[in-house]
Amino acid sequence: MAKFASDEWATLVKDEVNKSSVYKSAAKGWKWTVGLVIEAEPDKNFPESRGVVMDLFDGEARDIRVGPASDAQKCDFVITAPYSRWKQVGKKELDATKGMLQGKLKLKGDLPTIVRYTKSSQELTDCTTRFPVEWPDEK
């Protein structure tokens, strides 16, 4: 089991993305970086904001790494939400597309591009739900 937003978690996400034929075909032509900002929630045992930087290119995850939130904020597309929202996404309690339409996940980046790649972003999110995760507030 990988701890949420750890290096091991990032590796598992990358493996899942690269295993996904759905992602490979839906993300053909994608050439932008994606940053996930996980905002701190100290009362949920997630004391510091973290960033996930995803280097995605043409249906492949070239690199996914966890670091400071500021790194993720520099990406071409940035999705920001508090820890508990990401946990809902990771547990399939919140659909990422709906979350963005509702403003539960805040998106920064070129809207026509992200809409064009809705299916790939959906699959990318799904990849984060396909392995067991240790959530810091469930320890």
């Binding site: 659909d95 597309t97 339409l101 998106l107 809207l111 026509p112 809705t118």
Partner: protein, 159 residues
Amino acid sequence: MHDPVSGRMARRKVKAAPKGPGLVDYASKEASAFAEMLGGLIEANVLANPEKQKDFDTLVARVGIWVTDIDEGVTLVFDGGRLTVYNGLEPRRTITIHAEAETVMSLSNLKIGLLGLPVYYNDVGRGVALKLLQGKLKIDGLVPNIATLNRVTRIVSVQ
């Protein structure tokens, strides 16, 4: 007009609050995330594409979009080169689309083919047509306003 009286409204505010000199205004000071997303999408599309700009400049219509699985919607009021986005459904809509979030995204992904008509014979188009047949996509006011719907689809489509 298919709906001369007020429809469902979500967080409706009455006074217009223009957001800068762009093509799109938001009726509410606190535009919903969905309103901002759709307004932003249309603005980006129109600014990047002269064909869409032509449609945008001549379109006069009040289009409601209600996303059934998040229980939120917007009204897009096109007024010949200006768009005002309202939170919720406003009265006197020309067309109202009711669909799940995924279908709304698919509508924005419809390819535009010959004669500027949406393509319904590729994967995305077939998916949209199927939702229409299954009643998962409902379009009030469709029959008398097909030309308007096609024009709105051209403006919203990112393809």
